[in-house]
Symmetry: C3
Amino acid sequence: MSQTASAGPSPVVSADLHLEVRYFYVRQMRLLDEGHSEEFAETFSDDGVFHHTSATGAPPRGRAEIAAAAKAALGLRPGLVPRHWFDMMLVEPRADGSLYVTYQAVVSRTDATGAVDFEPTVFVEDELVREDGRLLNRSRTIHRDDLRLSGGR
Amino acid sequence: MSQTASAGPSPVVSADLHLEVRYFYVRQMRLLDEGHSEEFAETFSDDGVFHHTSATGAPPRGRAEIAAAAKAALGLRPGLVPRHWFDMMLVEPRADGSLYVTYQAVVSRTDATGAVDFEPTVFVEDELVREDGRLLNRSRTIHRDDLRLSGGR
Amino acid sequence: MSQTASAGPSPVVSADLHLEVRYFYVRQMRLLDEGHSEEFAETFSDDGVFHHTSATGAPPRGRAEIAAAAKAALGLRPGLVPRHWFDMMLVEPRADGSLYVTYQAVVSRTDATGAVDFEPTVFVEDELVREDGRLLNRSRTIHRDDLRLSGGR
């Protein structure tokens, strides 16, 4: 993980491309937060892979495994409405035509009494590819901030 | 409410239009958070209507009623500085020229000791129209996430 | 501070310029949150000045003083991963070619157990200038919301 590698001056993508990426994430996160695990997994490419620094074992690879992992993660929030919040996003085109996208994220959880709390903040690295004109996630790597402190990555 | 209706591929508005909408909200929310209820109400059209899933009775309709409702809501936060936070916004043009805008929101409240807490997260559906070149809210519908859990909408 | 001065209709900057400003902040805030105080200070102009309503004495002026102040501020968060969250940003060009940028911000802090809390929300006024094609901060003024309530600014 290098959050600061692009700290110097660098080309900025067009606002239209940046917005297309943002809308991709809006739709993807609504699917996840609404509990549509299969449709969430369809926003990944066939060979998509989902790394999470809190996970042990092989990362979910392919839509079926990603859907199962998303479903399992949702099961950890019974009686809560989750909302993903993203900020500080950079979209950087790669020479192979893919997009390297980095951002920070946090999940809020609202319960039936109206109380709100937050899961640990994370830093995310995504690789997006375009297939048939549509953006798809080829990889996602989530770095939990609490694990950085406790010695993990 | 359908948060996922537009999950499939769909045209993206131009980044310039999206930004105009964003700036509309920045100004509208600063007015609200600063307690300028009348000026906040002026960001609605003459026939604007404000639905809130937590409210009973007829929704405020027209600027006078919306100003009164905004003033009453502000009175519920004595000794607190509120800040609205928006994310995951989609702007979708309608055939009639209006804009259907959806997003999630949360209100932070900072007190005089520096402590911060959050009101329940919400999902918002807005209809924006353009009058004399200026964007105005023709309707707003706020869905509180805690009420979804407790059986409301 | 006038958060609502620009509440009326006003020209909107291009989405490309707005995005350039956003990316400037993404890089600047990653440097700060990762603890790179010197590189953070390099995002200010030679004569940059950093006002903070919670500070007493003369504000840090110039990169060396700003780096020292940033380093001291980071020392106040031992064992915590800070993340800056920005929203409600307006970019307004000035007649002299500088940019007047205003936004709200909050800092989340995640500890090694995964617990998250937030520092008091703030309203920020920045002046950005362009040198050799690159944006730099000529001034930053941070208004803490809790100090507004307790009588400060």
